[in-house]
Each structure stands twice: as structure tokens, then as C-alpha cells.
């Protein structure tokens, strides 16, 4: 099926170009930043400085530096943190799994609950279910995750503890089972709201289509029509926002990890931004950017699998 292959290849190509652009941007920005990367609080001895300069080619003309930089990046060498002098790559490798754990929980929760709420709201349109779920969704879209996080900490963490004497939901840290719920929920709520709103609109659209009339004329029950015909078609527009949603969850970790004192990559990123730890900033940015590009690619591929019309046109509707 050449057309379908065409679609996938195009997506991969864009991903590669975007990542390359990202590398260029980060390189460019790094050289915009005041001072040179190795001036910090501590003075670096001359020989070591010279060695580092040679390694990163800082005494070479810009294009050469660029190639060295790209080469380093592709080898996984993101440089060394100005703050604690550890390789950035190592810092990322330690912190990312924590954020990934948090993020995946949040995404799964958001997707499943969001889709369900959207279907319920559409099917029971105009009733209390509809208004209720959509009101909830509106709150989710309007209340920023950090505010929600703080509120959750206060009411479900502190107050509940004061009321019952048991720490049902941990307020800080990451590890024990009860510590994962609040941050994941705070992270997920906004995305869940977006998904449910979009799913509702999409379902309403689909339920007006002629093939639903056909399904009814065939004698299928309401439940069968909804779950075997409508949902499959309604899900597709939701899949297209999964890319931006992953990005939203990712940036959400910046704040949530801060509030809940979770040792994830988001917390590290924020810290290094506040401390002007340029190499870490750049390294983490590159990592995040590439990750998101990759996630978008995965979403595009999933969409291609779901929509049989891609086979024909080689392009999304």
C-alpha cells in the first residue's frame, strides 16, 4: 500500500527536520547567552579550561562548533551541568523515568475518563448528565493545574489527615502508593476536560450522520449503535489532539513536580532555568523537544492506523 507508506514516511521526515531545527535553535540560543559556558561561580583552572574548549571546539569557528555539537548530541553527550558539574545526560536519565511514570498515569486517566465523559454527555444530551459533565470539563479547562494541585494538597492531603488521622493521600514526594494519586490527578484534570469536550462535540457530530440512521434501521440497539459505530468514528478527532495533550502534560510536570516535591525532570528543568544553568537548560530542552516530536509521530501513526481513508488519499481528512 504505497499511499499509506507515503503518509508514514512523510511524517517521519517532518519529525527529523523538526528535531534538526530544534538542535539549531538550541545551539543558537546557547551562543546568545551571556558569558561563556565555563565561567561560573568557581574559577576553572586554565589547563582544564583549555581541554574543555578543545573538546567542545569553542575556539573553532562557528560552523565547526555546530558540527561538533551535533555530533556530541547524537552520541548522547549533552554537555555538563554548570550547577553540579554532572553530565546532563545522566541527570536526564535519572529524572526522566519519574516524570514519565507520573505523565503516563495522568494521560491514561485523562484519556479513559475523558472519552467516557464525552460519550455520556453526548448520548444524554440536554439532561443533567450533559450539563454536569460539561460543567466539570469547563472547570478543568479554566482552573490551571498548579492551582488545582495546591487545592488538592490542602483538602485531600492536609484536611483529610486532620480529620481522619491517616495520611490517605501523600502531599509530597514520590514513591509510596499513596503519593502518586494527587499529582497525577492534578496533572490529568485539564487534559481530561479537553478530551471530554472534544469527544462530546465529535460524538454529537457522528450521531447526526446518515450511517447511524442506517444502523438504527438495521435494528441495532442504542448501545450497539453507540459503541460499535459511533465511538470508533468519534474518537478520530480526539486522537489528533493527543500530540498537543502530551505536550501539555509534559509542561504540566514543571509545576506539579514543584508543588509536590517530586524529583522529576520537570523540577530539574525549572531549577536550572531559575539558576541560569545553561547547559542543562539546553540539554533538557533538546530532550523534551525531541521527545515531543517523537510522541507526535507516534500519534500520527496511530491515526493512520485508525482511519482507513488514509489508505486512499495519503493525507488526513
Amino acid at each position: 500500500m504505497p499511499k499509506q507508506l507515503q503518509y508514514y514516511l512523510k511524517r517521519v521526515l517532518y519529525a527529523v527536520i523538526t528535531i534538526f531545527l530544534l538542535i539549531c535553535i538550541t545551539f543558537f540560543l546557547m551562543h546568545l547567552m551571556p558569558g561563556d559556558p565555563f565561567s561560573g561561580e568557581k574559577a576553572v583552572p586554565a589547563e582544564i579550561k583549555a581541554a574543555l574548549y578543545a573538546k567542545y571546539g569553542l575556539d573553532q569557528p562557528l560552523p565547526v562548533q555546530f558540527f561538533k555539537y551535533v555530533g556530541n548530541v547524537l552520541h548522547g553527550d549533552f554537555g555538563v551541568s554548570l550547577q553540579d558539574k554532572r553530565p546532563v545526560a545522566q541527570t536526564i536519565a535519572e529524572a526522566f523515568p519519574v516524570s514519565a511514570d507520573l505523565g503516563i498515569r495522568a494521560l491514561i486517566f485523562a484519556t479513559i475518563i475523558g472519552l467516557l465523559l464525552g460519550v455520556v454527555a453526548a448520548v444524554k444530551r440536554g439532561t443533567g448528565w450533559d450539563t454536569g459533565t460539561m460543567f466539570l470539563a469547563l472547570i478543568g479547562v479554566s482552573v490551571p493545574s498548579f492551582i488545582l494541585g495546591a487545592l488538592l494538597q490542602y483538602f485531600l492531603g492536609l484536611k483529610l489527615y486532620q480529620a481522619t488521622g491517616r495520611q490517605i493521600f501523600a502531599v509530597m514526594g514520590w514513591g509510596p502508593a499513596n503519593s502518586k494519586f494527587l499529582p497525577a490527578f492534578a496533572l490529568a484534570f485539564g487534559s481530561m476536560a479537553s478530551i471530554s469536550r472534544l469527544m462530546r462535540t465529535s460524538m454529537l457530530d457522528v450521531l447526526n450522520q446518515d450511517y447511524i440512521k442506517t444502523a438504527k434501521a438495521k435494528g441495532l440497539s442504542r448501545g450497539e449503535i453507540i459503541w460499535k459505530h459511533a465511538v470508533r468514528n468519534a474518537v478520530m478527532p480526539v486522537v489528533t489532539i493527543m500530540g498537543p495533550l502530551v505536550a501539555a502534560v509534559l509542561t504540566g510536570t514543571f509545576v506539579v513536580e514543584n508543588i509536590f516535591a517530586i524529583p522529576g525532570l520537570g523540577k530539574i528543568f525549572v531549577q536550572c532555568v531559575q539558576n541560569n544553568d545553561y547547559t542543562t537548560i539546553v540539554g533538557t530542552t533538546l530532550f523534551y523537544g525531541s521527545f515531543l516530536v517523537f510522541a507526535n509521530l507516534v500519534v500520527d501513526i496511530i491515526y493512520g492506523l485508525l482511519d482507513p481513508r488514509i489508505k486512499l488519499s495519503g493525507e488526513k481528512e
Binding site: 434501521a217 438495521k218 482507513p308 481513508r309 489508505k311
Partner: protein, 332 residues
Amino acid sequence: MERILDIKDLEVSFDTYAGEVHAVRGVSLHVDAGEALAIVGESGCGKSVTAQTVMKLNPMPPARIKNGKIDLCGRDIVAAGEKEMQGIRGQLVSMIFQDPMTCLNPTKKVGKQLTETLKKHKHLSGRQCREEAVRLLKMVQIPNAEQRAGEYPHEFSGGMRQRAMIAMALSCHPKLLIADEPTTALDVTIQAQIMELMQKIRDETGTSIILITHDLGVVANLADRVAVMYAGKIVEQGSARDIFYRAAHPYTAALLRSLPTVETSRSEELVSIPGTPPDLYAPPAGCAFASRCKYCMKLCRHRQPPEFTVAQGHVASCWRLHPDFPRQKEGK
């Protein structure tokens, strides 16, 4: 002859924000086994609503059956609940719609869609369903049936899609097939093919057919009987020959006149009926066709004509058929 469908005095209204739309204002018709009945009329005359009410496809708010009886093979449709209707739809009576492009689920394979009802009601296995899907596609003369069953709707042409719809409608051998403007969205040559197919099916399986259309030309070959609808009522009903050769209602006559034939010369003007159908929010007190009828009389404007028998099996609702109608004063 077994009577498959019997509708008596059906009245259906829609409750909208702007008031009540009297879509169907007292329709009585019937279909016998193996018969093909054509319901003909302009857009908005209520023919689709009538058909969809037989299967209770209209969402019941805002639609409302105000009055009337619908008897389908002994089942009381008006009183039937939703669960009962689910057993009737697809099994006793099936429907195919106007636009085959949008009537098939784009994300489901055609073969699966064809046998969905079969799977549900007859509990066939996966393999049996596949075989049945191929057999159905062959029955409606789609070439390469085995391959086609595994394809998606967008890979079919318009005519093929309509054939697939017909196959889908017949999968459970219903007694009655309702075709709502099946050829309106298709090319003329494909139209002829589809009509031929429907005839073949009627002859081979004995399924009764209700053909709904605004195009009298399509009706000629297939229909045994014809009902002409206008503004929510049936104005004339009879055999195909009655309607084509002995039309008794002015509206029917006007419709026939407006059809260009092979013999129409190029210099002749096309005849149309001046005016538009009445607004069904406020249906007129008299005959709905009165203001467009060249035979209109004083009586027509304020009293609705009842059904008059013109001949055996041929009725029409026109005051000119009243025994007291003064034949000499045929005004122009």
C-alpha cells in the same frame, strides 16, 4: 394475497420551536405480498416521514404519531416499544436511503456491515458471516465479491455502494423493503441499473417494495401501484396504469404533464406547476392544492375533499369527482 403493510389514517406531527409541523395529515395505504408500491410527491410532501414512521426511525420527540394505525405483518407498530422495534427493523422491514456515500460507516469493512444484523439475530459464526457477505454481494451483482467484502466503503463507487446497501437491507430476508429515493443521488445510467436490480430482487425473492421518489419516470417499470402524495396527504392512489393513463387528480395530471418524454420536441417549453406547496405549520383548511389548481372551485378552498372511488382499486381526493359536480361547467 397476504397484506404486508396496512396504514390507516396516519397523522404525524413534529413539535418544533416555531410550532407544530403537520407533516402527515391522514394517510391510508397498503402493500400486499410481492407488490411494489411507489409513493410519489414533491420534496416536503411527507413521503419520507411516512416511511420512516413505519420503522419508527424518527426520534419520537420531536416527532409524534397523533393518530392512526400501522399494521405490519400483524404487528401493531404504533403501540410497539423500542425493544420490539429493534426486533422488527432489519428483520421484517428494511430501508435503504438516498445518499449511499454517507450511509455506510466509513471505518468498518463492507462485509462486516452487511452481516451485522445476521450476526445479531441469527448468531452466525465469523466464517459463516464472511461467506454470507460474499453471497449477498454476488446477489446484487458486485464483481470480485470476495475481495470487495474486505474493503471499506470509500473504495466502492456510488452505484456499488447502493447495491451494497440493498444487499445489507436484504440480508435477513425482510418481508418489506422501503427504498427512500434510492437513485436520486446517482447518475442516470446507474439509476437504471439499480431499478433493474430491485425488480430482479422482487421477482426472485417475493419481497414487497415501497419505492419513494419525486421522479415519476423512475416509477414506470417497477411499480404495481402508485400513491401520489401532496402536502401530507395522499391525493390519488391506484395501479400504475390507472395513474399514468387515467389520472383523476389535477396534481397527478400536472406532474405527468411536466415530464419531458422522448417525443417532446426541442421547441416545446417545459411545463411546470406554478406556485409552491403550502407551509405545513399552518395547513390550509381546504384542499391543499387549491391555490395551484386550474380547476379550483369555491368549495375547494374551504373544505377538504374526501377520497372518491374512480374505479376498482383507484381512488382520488378531488371535489370534481363528487356526484354533484356539474360536468358541463368545465371552466378553463
